[in-house]
Symmetry: C4
């Protein structure tokens, strides 16, 4: 089964998710600067989520580059990831509109953790399909970065109940780790 | 007439449908867990519909793989299917926001039945275009699974007026039958 | 300049337009059949517009098949058409939500006329670019069907102020004329 | 790294942005012409933004035509541009719904300036990646038109506080400069 249509479908869904988040940036009713002020927490959550969705797109882009084929299990693992990614506009708005209150920050982190978990499942399914000695399996390696991210998200969710700013700081930290596209795949692609 | 653009257009519409359903998951106004609680029926309907749209995408993906050409009738049969699929976000929200009340559950089932009927019409048109001895016609066979699904949807709609949970259970059952992508096409593709 | 990306972009915009109209089908607040009843005029306008957008997609699909190249003028003529097409969800909702009142029906017809006019401009630009002796120019011919449609839309808009049902009937009539994809291009493609 | 998927993703996001702006054109509640009248400032802002997004699409289309490869920095420079472009529906609605009041007009201009700045960064990254002697670098040249546009946007934002119509006039002027697709790339493509 060809990977082309899966890549195109994934790109389509990710493009919609990243753009649909804008719709949450509702137009203020006033006509001066004070109308824009209440938007800043929503704007900041939107920036963070935009970077996260961009990171996922970059990593999926690089990963599918080394993928040779897909099967039904991979299709569903990919849809499973897209499901959690497509919830990000809702959790982003929840966090932004409630001005980074603890529960919304924790819910946002749970969303991030579920995306990371779904990405991990997708990697496992692809490794299972390709076998241990393939370019793909070598590129993925032990996926340490993915596992560390998941651990930080969970820490972020829990520490949010100490202070939500610890949670937000940890989510920003993971985004910064991943901001550079996944070197494991880049290294192989450049060979 | 090439099938490439029809596939791409279909994927685009399906990607939008699957993502647009998220928009119905409106952000709760409160900032603690109690604000999320009323969302659970909407969330569950969203999960079910996401799986259904995923199933249609998978089956269309596999079916178009064995398709050799399309004509005007196939284009319209495909658009007809996309029409009923694109109503799914509305019926999903109707069912979820009314907490699985009988009429919305029945309406949701009517929507599923119309999608199944439209899929059946598309298969008939494609079989008509390709002829009885082609790879396509052999892959489709007698389309028993499609006909059984349609019968279960209709049963689900009717039994909803005994108890809506019978309806929901039958819709979930059909989703589980189809969760594995259509083996008829997979078998042929893998040959 | 390649036509591939123009086709893909056009398909993307048309896919979004056709799906976004669904969003106007707002979920009724009640939970029984009486909640669905007020939706019927919106539903009917949605069906009509879905068929219209489908017709445009089919005709663009067939026309671009015989197109050999595009230039800046064609790009803008195409964007101009997409602009008026993308207003269709708004005019559709205006007509449906006001239960086919005269002014909304006339406005809907003005929208259709502007789409037809923009399609005509696109054909003129493409004919200008390709020259009189090309496959494209021969396929288009004198574009009588396009001109007749435009005339009927204008008649429909004017006669709406006698009775809006004459307007609606004329719009439905034009949709039926075009429902079969443009034979001029099909004939040539099949050669 | 291939440029194909970056082009396709960019086209997808731009197609969504250009179409999503329609959603701001809310359906009027009345059923006669007076219901449409308050829409004119929103409609005019929509037309202007549609032309701007069309210009960006045309220029990206032409620029990527001469691009030979992309790397992680280019991917992010491109996403950065898409971020500011995807805010355009919000600033457009803010300007239109407030009937071209000074602050919204200035905010709209800041949005345009940020898009222009992001486009400039993208060009710099691509020039850095391709080197000074490539087709790409020659096509871009010193990017005077881009720098002049940025200067006019900033002037427009500042002069809005003298009269917002100066701001609007300057934004329209820049749109007219760019309406013709970027000749620098066209000239090279046609060679």
């Amino acid at each position: 089964m060809g990977k082309g249509r899966v890549e195109a479908f994934t790109d389509g869904v990710v493009a919609i998710i990243i753009t649909i988040m804008v719709l949450e940036l509702k137009v203020p009713h006033g006509e001066d600067f004070s109308a824009l002020l209440p938007l800043w927490p929503i704007f900041l959550s939107y920036v963070l989520s935009f970077i996260y969705v961009g990171i996922y797109w970059n990593n999926l882009h690089n990963m599918f580059h080394t993928v040779q084929r897909v099967d039904g299990r991979v299709l569903w693992a990919n849809l499973h990831l897209l499901f959690w990614l497509s919830l990000m506009p809702a959790t982003t708005a929840f966090m932004g509109e409630n001005h980074f209150a603890p529960v919304p920050v924790a819910v946002y982190g749970v969303g991030l953790a579920l995306c990371a978990f779904a990405y991990y499942v997708l990697v496992v399914e692809l490794r299972h399909l390709h076998g241990a000695d393939t370019t793909f399996a070598k590129a993925v390696g032990r996926d340490r970065k993915g596992k560390i991210s998941l651990a930080i998200y969970i820490a972020g969710v829990l520490l949010t109940f100490v202070s939500q700013w610890i949670g937000v700081a940890l989510y920003v930290a993971v985004a910064m780790i991943w901001f550079v596209p996944d070197k494991r795949f880049e290294r192989l692609i450049e060979k």
